[in-house]
Structures are given as structure tokens and as C-alpha cells.
């Protein structure tokens, strides 16, 4: 694997990072118009993340977005779930039935995000006012009371055995 490939080896995976780790990613301005900021951890470029924790805040702007906070015990990750698919010009180019399905899924996720539930959230790593956040693509509410504990163990294991590995 050459240096370029090595830097991008985690790029298309949802990295499972603890909040304190996710919030300390290095942010660098990039030349791409779709992703104006690139995120990296120990030299590896990242674009997607998964987090699991308790929902501790929720701010809904109907038909626009739901902003919420996931607290995993090591930090709070801000999340934004867009709910503007039917009005957004970005989605106008796509098939109306696909857009409707995406919009329905987003509304379902928004209804599941309630204060105090434990949610597993996946999405793109983005930045808002200089702070790392997740632009949500899917949400699963965890029923197993051990889900967070198992997520911590998985994050620690992956960091040590996979994400931190230099491989070069």
C-alpha cells in the first residue's frame, strides 16, 4: 500500500470513535467543493463515523432539521439530521420516489430520537463553527442496556488494533 492509499484506508468506513477522540480530529481546509474540510486522525483521512450514546438535547425545526446531542460519557457529539429533502434543490435532481423514501426515513429517525434514549448514529463527519459534528444518515435506538458498554470496548479495541496501526 503506497502512502496515498494508506492515508485513505479508513476513508469510506464508518469509524467507531469515542466522543473525545472524534472531537479531537484534525480539521484541514480542502480543495473539494463537496467537502470543504477534511478530517484526519493520526494521519488517516476520515469521512464517516459511528457513535453510540445517550441523547441529552434535541432541537427540532420541522421540515428543516433536527439537531441533537449524543453523550457517550467521554464527550458530547453534536448531530444534525436534515429534514428538508422535499424542498432542497440538492435533491431535486434525484428521482422523486427516492427522495420521498429518504425523507420518510429521516422523519422516522427524528421521531425515535427522544431525550434519554441510547442511540447508535452513523453519518458524515462535518464541522459546525469549528466543532466536529455528525451529519446523520441513519439512527438505531438501542434497547440492550449493555450496548454502550460494548461500544466502548469496540472503540478501544479498534483504536488499538486497527485505527492506530501505522501499517507502513
Amino acid at each position: 500500500m503506497d502512502h496515498h492509499q494508506h492515508r485513505r484506508r479508513l476513508y469510506n468506513t464508518h469509524v467507531k470513535l469515542l466522543a473525545f477522540d472524534l472531537l479531537s480530529l484534525l480539521q484541514t481546509p480542502s480543495h473539494s467543493s463537496s467537502d470543504p474540510i477534511s478530517f484526519s486522525r493520526k494521519g488517516a483521512l476520515l469521512s464517516r463515523a459511528e457513535t453510540v450514546g445517550t441523547v441529552t438535547s434535541r432541537e427540532l425545526k420541522p421540515s428543516k432539521f433536527l439537531k441533537f446531542t449524543i453523550d457517550d460519557g467521554t464527550g458530547c457529539v453534536g448531530c444534525v439530521l436534515w429534514l428538508n429533502h422535499l424542498a432542497s434543490p440538492y435533491f431535486a435532481r434525484r428521482s422523486p420516489s427516492d427522495v420521498r423514501l429518504i425523507a420518510e426515513a429521516a422523519n422516522r429517525f427524528a421521531a425515535e430520537i427522544r431525550l434519554g434514549v441510547v442511540a447508535r448514529v452513523r453519518g458524515r463527519i462535518t464541522s459546525y463553527r469549528g466543532t466536529v459534528q455528525i451529519t446523520v444518515s441513519d439512527v438505531v435506538v438501542e434497547r440492550d442496556p449493555n450496548a454502550e458498554t460494548l461500544h466502548w470496548l469496540e472503540c478501544m479495541n479498534l483504536a488499538r488494533k486497527c485505527y492506530d496501526a501505522s501499517g507502513l
Binding site: 432541537e59 439537531k67 453523550d71 449493555n146 458498554t149 466502548w152
Partner: protein
Amino acid sequence: MASSAIKSGTLVSLQDIYLSSPFFKQGASLRVTGKLQEYSVETAVAIVVDGNANLKINTQHLRDLSFRVGSFYQFIGELLIQHDNEAILQARVGRNVDGIDLNLYHQSLQLLRKFQADHLSTT
């Protein structure tokens, strides 16, 4: 963004909350887990226990949570230390965690603290 003002509840065991502990601070944001020993509908004050440690929880801001003595609960909130040095957690969120493996939880918590300390010392 409103969420940036929300503080993370530091993960603690009930045994970690005592007078000279670093977690025993006015306004400290904590996450605690324990078995419900008592609950008063009048005051909305709950008492949770873990081994020989216990803590009072003010649950007046919580909705949609039913309290059953003997069940396990987890709360995130701020510690209020009263004049007599008695602590009470002002809960922001709470949930029932019946079925939690507390042994695994406490062991994982120790690993997590070490992992975090190691990570912060290398960055």
C-alpha cells in the same frame, strides 16, 4: 449550536462520590447507575444504591419514566452539594437499565479511563 453548551456526564460509580473525591464538586456533570431503593412521588426524589454506596437523585425534570423499586436506572445530571455536604444529583435525563451487566460496566469503565488518559498523554 445549542448542544455545545451541554456538558457530558462523566461516568462514575456511586462509590466514586464521597467528600474528598475529585468528582464531588458543586455542579459537576455526572452519569450514575444504580438500583432504585426508594422513590417518593411527592418530592420526586429517588435513592439509588450500588453495593454499600448510595445517592439521592432529584427526578422532577424527568418525564415518561416510571420508577420501580428494585429496578436499575441510569441518570445524567449535575451534582448539587447542600449545606450539610449531602449531595443530590439534579437529573437531566434518566432511563431504566434493567438487564445491565454492572460488573462488565465497572470493569469497562476502568479500561475506558486508562484508554482516555493514555490517549491524552500521547496527543
